[in-house]
């Protein structure tokens, strides 16, 4: 199948690739994750019980507090972070955390990113170009 390109706003971090994990739900590292086990731990989350480690994590919006900005780097240093984070609509905390963690982050796409990418797709994220490529 041909590659598909999706444009978004210029983001943070360097190019990254991985297998997509997608849900039409929101994201906070503090509220939703068991960061030691690398899984979604919030019972009400659409990805409850699933591992996000090394995935291109695709969700709807950023939610909750500021803790995610420290946590992304800490997760990355323990090799328990996603490879990239894509949101339809981010917030300052996600961008700040990604910049600090040197994690690829993008938002504000030309389409609903949670519809355009399916779990299991192989995805490359190029934040500086504002581009997502689906193999």
């Amino acid at each position: 199948m041909a590659e598909r390109h999706i444009k978004g706003h210029v983001g943070v971090g360097q190019q990254a690739s991985g297998i997509a994990l997608v849900a039409r739900d929101n994201f906070s590292a503090r509220y939703d994750l068991d960061r030691l086990k690398g899984v979604f731990s919030r019972p009400a989350h659409a990805l409850h019980g699933q591992s996000y480690v090394n995935t291109v994590l695709v969700l709807h919006t950023a939610k909750g507090g500021v803790a995610t900005s420290w946590m992304l780097r800490e997760m990355k240093n323990r090799a328990m972070a996603p490879a990239a984070l894509l949101l339809n609509l981010g917030n300052p905390v996600m961008a700040q955390g990604a910049a600090f963690a040197e994690l690829a982050f993008m938002d504000r796409f030309e389409v609903d990113i949670t519809e355009a990418i399916k779990t299991g797709d192989r995805v490359t994220v190029d934040p500086q170009a504002g581009l997502v490529i689906i193999d």
Partner: protein, 404 residues
């Protein structure tokens, strides 16, 4: 700064801020007069603590913060962690963090209610606040200007003395986008939190500015504190307006660029349904928590009055968190004695969800939690708890009876 003449820490900080500014189309920077830094050790982890220690090891002129910088709650109350069966390694991380931050000239206020206890922001003042509750209060109630500045971003602002100018720093980012009409005034703190939660669920993005009509007279500082904290927690919202209450909303019409949208109505039944969504603990309550945000001196007095002459159930813990400044005031005024005589624990400089809540629950066998904080019950289920929202009075009754 970018060329590195002010040292590697300030260069890294400004580079990080430029990246974030470009992501949000900031055209320039704005100087800030205060920084509120969230850096609890649970969020920092070992790598974050080591990062702070590396900064602290720099020459003094390179490591000192450029504007007054105060801290959000810590991860451990060093006077209480042993009694709470918290791990010594967490206490050690905390001690290392405190030493590093003090070396940078950071004021260890350890509070999320700095706007009530340290230095209230002023209308129009640009800030870098790093707690969603303190940010939404500063923006909305005080009319100051701050985005959510997560820990590393607030630290960068402390080192550079500025932030990228976007979002809440711009007039255009402060205009109303959604209108809500409250049909019945909330009657207590948990009601105000529930109202904030409901509006947060319906707005659901950092870039929305809800306007709340129907509040007929000014709420108290504590009521707006619980409302804002829940709104920011459920909706990731940094700013609200309340016509004829908050300073940038003289009238309802004045906060919208165009005609005000049709309001979404919030009835008493909506609040009741929100409470009901958490259910009840009819068999047993493990822990009752007053925190998130930390309690004001007035809230401390109220809880003490409810506990006077009563005893917390032997199978239930009651935890109350406040700022170090309020704790000292409570000691002086006899409030601490009343609270501790009941068997409750008064914690200072911490907040429940920031103090290794998962490990705390596992060490003490706590799952069934009751709180009057809509913010806390939102956060805490991800840490393995089954939370219930209740009024302050019902929380104290649950602690005394060991059940609801």
């Amino acid at each position: 700064m970018r060329a590195g003449r002010m040292g590697p820490a300030r260069r890294a900080a400004i580079d990080q801020q430029i990246q974030v500014g470009m992501t949000f189309d900031a055209k320039d920077f704005v100087e800030v007069s205060q920084v509120h830094l969230m850096a609890d050790t649970e969020s920092l982890g070992e790598s974050g603590v080591a990062y702070l220690e590396n900064l602290a090891a720099l020459p003094e002129e390179e490591r000192r913060v450029r504007v007054p910088t105060v801290t959000d709650p810590r991860g451990i109350d060093l006077c209480a962690y042993e009694k709470l069966h918290q791990d010594e390694r967490f206490a050690e991380l905390e001690r290392r963090t405190i030493i590093a931050m003090q070396a940078m000239g950071i004021l260890m206020t350890d509070t999320c209610i700095n706007y009530q206890t340290v230095m209230p922001p002023v209308r129009g003042e640009h800030l870098a606040f790093g707690d969603t509750g303190s940010t939404i209060y500063a923006n909305s109630v005080c009319g100051a200007r701050s985005n959510f500045e997560g820990g590393p971003a607030a630290l960068a602002a402390a080192l550079t003395g500025r932030v990228p100018r976007y979002g809440c720093h711009l007039e255009s980012g402060r205009r109303g986008t959604h209108l809500f009409e409250v049909k019945e005034r909330p009657s207590n703190l948990s009601d105000w939190g529930a109202l904030g939660a409901l509006i947060g669920q319906r707005t659901g993005s950092y870039w929305t500015v809800p306007v709340i009509a129907g509040i007929d007279r000014a709420p108290t500082s504590d009521e707006l504190k619980h409302f804002g904290a829940a709104l920011a927690s459920y909706g990731s919202v940094p700013l609200f307006h309340m016509p004829r209450v908050t300073p940038e909303a003289k009238t309802l019409e004045s906060v919208f660029d165009h005609q005000a949208p049709d309001p979404e109505i919030i009835m008493r039944a909506d609040l009741d349904a929100f409470y009901a969504s958490f259910g009840r603990h009819e068999d047993k309550v493990d822990v009752v928590v007053f925190a998130a945000p930390q309690l004001s001196l007035v809230e401390m007095q109220d809880v003490a009055r409810l506990l006077e002459g009563r005893r917390v159930h032997r199978n239930t813990a009651l935890l109350i968190a406040t700022s170090p400044e309020n704790k000292a005031a409570c000691d002086r005024m006899g409030i601490t004695e009343t609270i501790e005589s009941s068997g409750a624990m008064l914690l200072k400089g911490v907040c429940f969800y920031q103090m290794y809540a998962r490990e705390l629950g596992e060490a003490n066998g706590w799952q069934r939690l009751v709180s009057n904080s809509a913010k806390l019950v939102n956060i805490i289920s991800g840490y393995g708890y089954r939370p219930v929202l209740a009024t302050t009075e019902a929380c104290v009754d649950a602690a005394v009876n060991g059940r609801m």
